[in-house]
Amino acid sequence: MGTRLNLEHITKIEGHARLYVKVAGGKVEKVELRVLEGARFFEGILKERKFNDLSHISSRICGVCSVVHTLGSLKAIEDAFGIKVSEQTRKLREVLNIGGIIQSHILHLYFLTLPDYIGVGSAIGMAKKHKAILERALRLKRLGNQIVFTIAGRDVHPIACVVGGFSRPPAKDKIDALLSELKQCKKDAVETVKLFMSLSYPDFSKDAPHFALSGEEYFYSDTIVRCQGGACFPTKDYKKHFKEYLREGSAAEFATREGKSYFVGAMARVCNNTEMLSEESKKYAKKICENNTNPFMNIPAQALEVLEGINRSIVILSNLEIKPEAPTEFTVKPCSCEGIGAVEAPRGTLFHHYSFDDKGYCTAADITTPTTQNLQHIEEAIGEYLQEILGRSPDEIKLEIEKLIRAYDPCISCSTHFLQMEVEME
């Protein structure tokens, strides 16, 4: 009989799930992520709904990724009905996506991750010893919210995004205010990159192919999926490459490529699309990508994206003369057809795939989230990392495993909810 070591909830991740680990004779025998939640059956509830309800429902898949689920949903609808959006809409959506990524990255970096590396239990503990860092985090958090609020009308569950564009163009004075805030926060972003590049991350390696969308803009590409090393395939073929499966005992979906795990996320974007980054960011990218078999490098990669996102937003908004445009939502001509919407979400590539009947009702919906794609990789990495650190104390092991899980920034709300961590040890 093995000794059972019960570890409490895995905290500071989005959602809840259970990790089951079995160790016998000094060897990790089994690692199983069991995601158990009151399932919400999103793919079921989208069915039978009219196209103009889908983005509102999809947005509610996740409170921290609501921007990107809205965008993925709208793009799938537009792809199906052959709607081409204006250049202005594309640009504004790119900045909106950056806003969503900054919101999510800043929460993850400063509130969920940093406490582990500076020895405080939560961001609340930072208020005493690390006031300057906390204030910087709060300024960047506010900036992310301001971007999303300015463009989409609300910072969680966007309002103004509709099929074909926006219900109204953002007000010029608000864009100007945002632009000045972006310029002011630039310094904070540089400090963020420096801080997260300087932390001492565990030395751990887990090789697997990395994927990210490519083809257009760093934060807003959708035509091709690019693999590490440069190989690509068209986005519309994603299902041929990425296979989802459900596992008994878990409400979550797992995805694999040719039966093996793969990785999506900030590190995949930074390293697969390095040449799309600004010169300033490239300097930092080099150090991250030299070490990109280490999942912990996803943390500085996120920090780098905050800086890149601010730079890119400044460029776009400084050159954008916003004009009023009529949204197309009320003139859409539905057809019996299907469409794919692919977007780079904070945690990696997100796919929405919808089919419609000729009245514009959804007949099938299939959503592949970044966390679904990373779960298999996370699970394997836990097993390998645990094997390396088995000699340490139970408390240390627990912290290290939690740190590893958090490095992926999993969003269990997206793939579904963690309950507790259970380790059976001999």
């Binding site: 500071k12 059956f41 509830i45 609340i124």
Partner: protein, 259 residues
């Protein structure tokens, strides 16, 4: 900081059931988050705290709908430990988007999950008020930052605020001028809890009822109006059912309240 703070800080917990956690994120997104955290004794907030304790709470915030037997048992325990309990957001208040699964037949649900045990544990998705007494309803998908701040600041001063009364129309800039309904655009402001300053209408978007249906909302009249415009059953279910699943099902069943 709390040097010689004689007044005891209220013990506060945040609890999350089946939902997107967007209301907890909205709390984290508050500009004055740290100021509030200084004034409370936060003992439970799984999303941001490493050590969480289930103690006796002066104030509990609960987000999410109840969708399993396990969750139903858990919400009862939280209620028993809490002096004042706030339902946070559309899912906790009315069932919200998770309740849309109630439109799907159970056998159909099986197709979307491989986990039969989970299905057997699941119950009809319901608001927390189906199981416990709620002291304050903070509506919205997500909640409004302004309402949360108003609530917590008053609470810390020993006062309680009241929920906004009346529909979204009461604060709508289009009211009596260029109402969306005149343009035959499905706007649900008339049947929706107000208090949001008609934020969506101000962004040129008709109300989607994210603050949930008013108790006295006349769904049959809304349905009749939309049908007269040519909307069919499926479309109406999608429009009214996103945040009004219970009310819609009740009005379809001739106001028969669910057990």
């Amino acid at each position: 900081m709390a040097e010689k703070n004689k007044k005891k800080k209220p013990v506060v917990g945040f609890f999350s059931f089946t939902c997107c956690e967007g209301c907890e994120f909205t709390v984290l997104f508050l500009d004055d988050l740290m100021k509030i955290l200084e004034k409370i004794d936060l003992q439970y907030f799984h999303l941001i705290k490493q050590k969480n304790r289930k103690v006796k709470f002066d104030l509990a915030f609960v987000e999410g709908a109840i969708t399993t037997k396990e969750e139903a048992a858990k919400i009862a325990k939280i209620r028993a430990k809490s002096k004042f309990l706030v339902a946070l957001g559309a899912c906790a208040c009315h069932g919200g988007i998770p309740a849309m699964r109630n439109f799907i037949e159970n056998k159909e649900l099986g197709k979307y999950t491989y986990n039969q045990k989970m299905l057997s544990d699941s119950i009809e998705a319901q608001p927390i008020s189906s199981f416990i007494k709620v002291d304050y309803y903070m509506y919205g998908c997500p909640i409004l930052k302004s309402e949360f701040m108003d609530f917590i600041n008053n609470y810390l001063d020993g006062k309680l605020i009241k929920e906004f009364e009346g529909p979204v129309c009461n604060q709508c800039p289009r009211r009596g001028v260029n109402c969306f309904l005149r343009e035959k655009k499905v706007c649900l402001g008339a049947v929706t809890h107000g208090g949001c300053n008609a934020a969506c209408v101000r962004e040129e978007i008709p109300c989607i009822m994210c603050r949930g249906p008013l108790e006295n909302a006349n769904f049959p009249a809304e349905i009749a109006l939309f049908k007269s415009w040519g909307l069919d059953e499926r479309d109406i279910t999608g429009k009214l059912g996103k945040f009004g699943e219970r009310k819609l099902t009740e009005s379809k069943n001739g106001n028969k309240t669910k057990p």
